[in-house]
């Protein structure tokens, strides 16, 4: 290999690094520092060191929000990514009409969460709503409920728009990954007469592992950070039942002006998600 001056490489990195340090990392350190203070945004900051974190450890609402976030993660892994994968896979196979399919699958992704939340609020509405009315028509009237307030259904009901919203996103990421699977590999498999299931499990999935990792990490971070559906559909209620960590952080920091506490929640979440990302990377690498 011809040895070049490695310093020219820094020209590639330095502009980005400076930009990133100045506009992202430095604000982030402010956030970190502010997680050690008690502050409403206006009055003087009171340094209380780890008190915010101690409070988080004893905050039952935080735990239930965290639990809900993990539930969202479970939905990402069991519903969102699998559906996204199959859609991508069928598109990749150039199923009939794939152009129009591809565009339409993408609609929820580009639709603002305001719109999606609006639709779901009309679906769930106990009186006017599509869901209850349909159940009544098909004779399952006993199943009707107040979807967003019933403790059994509320958490799932709030999570569904999120799951649906990002299926299309998972699809395009996986679709781009599928493009990199060498045709020879699949052809070789077909010549050996593998069936569809074997083809997916043994050829396709191992080939797109890097993209799968990306999907998982993105899905997990979104599940933890997303808060708009909760805010728009229930605002975490009734009585914090549907709160997820993202919405709880937002509500504490900005609606209730516990700015320091909100930041402490943010940092805690960050640590948890970095941990999860690490685990995902480990698991998929060792496989």
């Amino acid at each position: 290999m011809v040895q070049q001056n490695r310093w020219t490489l820094s020209l590639f990195a330095i502009p980005t690094l400076l930009f990133y340090l100045y506009f992202f990392i430095s604000p982030l350190t402010n956030t970190l520092f502010d997680s050690f203070v008690e502050w409403d945004g206006i009055s003087d900051k009171v340094f209380i060191f780890l008190n915010n974190y101690m409070e988080i450890l004893q905050d039952p609402v935080f735990y239930s929000a965290l639990l809900n976030s993990f539930y969202w993660v479970a939905l990402v892994i069991t519903v969102q990514i699998p559906i996204g994968f199959f859609l991508a896979y069928f598109l990749y196979q150039k199923v009939k009409g794939f152009r129009i399919l591809r565009t339409v699958y993408f609609i929820p992704v580009v639709t603002s969460s305001v719109a999606i939340a609006l639709i779901f609020s009309f679906i769930y509405d106990p009186i006017f709503g599509l869901l209850n009315n349909t159940l009544n028509i098909i004779g399952l009237g006993h199943l009707t409920t107040d979807w967003l307030a019933n403790p059994v259904t509320a958490v799932t009901a709030v999570a569904l728009p999120f799951v649906w919203n990002f299926i299309g996103l998972m699809m395009i990421i996986l679709y781009s990954g599928l493009q990199t699977v060498p045709d020879e590999l699949i052809e070789a498999g077909e010549m050996d007469g593998v069936n569809a299931r074997q083809k997916i499990v043994h050829i396709i999935l191992p080939s797109i592992k890097p993209v799968l990792t990306i999907c998982l990490v993105l899905g997990v971070t979104y599940a933890f950070k997303q808060f708009d559906y909760v805010l728009l559909l229930t605002n975490g209620g009734p009585v914090h039942l549907t709160e997820v960590s993202g919405s709880y952080m937002y509500n504490q920091g900005f609606s209730e002006n516990n700015y320091g506490y909100g930041n402490a929640i943010a940092i805690t979440m960050m640590v948890i998600v970095v941990g999860l990302a690490f685990i995902i990377n480990k698991v998929l690498k060792e496989d």
Binding site: Y20, P27, V110, V194, I203, P210, I214, K225, M269
Partner: protein, 296 residues
């Protein structure tokens, strides 16, 4: 990355299945198409619902939320574009989104190239900085971002929000690109080195073309998160002249009363440009994908 097929040739394909195959095959085919078109119907239904709602007034929406509108008049659209000032917001959103994509992609692509293709001290730390950026809930950066923009006098300007969006999207983009670039086989690059290519040539002639699928995906992702971004825009952009689409949409909803018909018309106006961009972009991407990986 190595792409070793994990299957064992010839295993599990007994011949006697053949006769049953056709039934099984049909069931599988049926399931497959139900799935594909079912999901299609769900999504298309969403779009139709918003479209139908945009022709209605509140009372009609509640009386008949999932039916066809009584009449098709474009009053809501007219109102949104004139009174709602959506035309200007649309332009602002386009400027902000496009500039963010360009800025963010160029910044991310160059550093991802360095992180993914070379070994050097502090590389892991550098990468970790970006991973942290992916995981932090961005809402927590509102205050410090505002201070920064105020400090450099860019609050309430389009340039300011472009910088903020670029910063917010940078970690995710780097994360995606590094992940993808790592998977590009080294052979071609080594051959190029031997041919005497410099770093820039390797970057622009080999890595960038090979990364097209992920560049496109990242571009779409940035597009989405900026196009629909609301929270930072609320805090940073408060003059009418610089506001973006999501702020305009939010104007139709208040704590006490929401005009769902207007909201829907606004949503339709905000979806259509993206779909157009996506359709055009996607054709490019697909072309790039089929040519890119073969030609290098």
């Amino acid at each position: 990355m190595e792409t070793k097929p994990g299957y064992e040739p010839g295993s599990n394909t007994p011949v006697y299945v053949e006769e049953k195959k056709s039934l099984k095959h049909h069931v599988a085919k049926f399931l497959k198409y139900t799935f594909i078109w079912g999901f299609f119907a769900l999504n298309f239904g969403l779009f139709l619902w918003i479209l139908m709602t945009s022709f209605k007034e509140n009372s009609e929406i509640f009386a008949n939320p999932f039916g066809l509108p009584e009449s098709y008049n474009f009053e809501n659209f007219y109102k949104v574009l004139t009174e709602g000032n959506m035309g200007l917001y649309l332009l602002n959103s386009l400027i902000v989104t496009m500039a963010t994509i360009f800025l963010c992609m160029s910044l991310a692509a160059t550093i991802s190239f360095v992180i993914s293709r070379f070994k050097f001290k502090g590389k892991q730390f550098m990468y970790l900085l970006f991973v942290i950026g992916v995981t932090i809930p961005l809402q927590s950066l509102i205050f410090p971002m505002f201070f920064r923009m105020h400090q450099i006098g860019l609050r309430d300007t389009l340039l300011g929000i472009i910088i903020v969006y670029t910063a917010l999207n940078l970690p995710k983009t780097v994360f995606l690109l590094v992940g993808f670039m790592k998977g590009i086989p080294r052979e071609m690059e080594e051959a190029a080195f031997i041919d005497g290519c410099n770093y820039w040539q390797i970057f622009s002639k080999i890595i960038m073309p090979m990364s097209k699928p992920m560049l496109a995906t990242a571009g779409i992702l940035i597009f989405l998160s900026t196009w629909n971004e609301y929270i930072f825009a609320t805090v940073l952009l408060s003059s009418d002249a610089v506001q973006t689409l999501p702020l305009g949409l939010a104007n139709f909803q208040t704590d006490h009363v929401s005009q769902y018909g207007l909201v829907s018309a606004g949503i339709i106006i905000s979806i259509i440009p993206i779909l157009i961009v996506y359709i055009i972009f996607q054709e490019q991407v697909v072309k790039g994908m089929t040519s890119g990986s073969v030609k290098g």
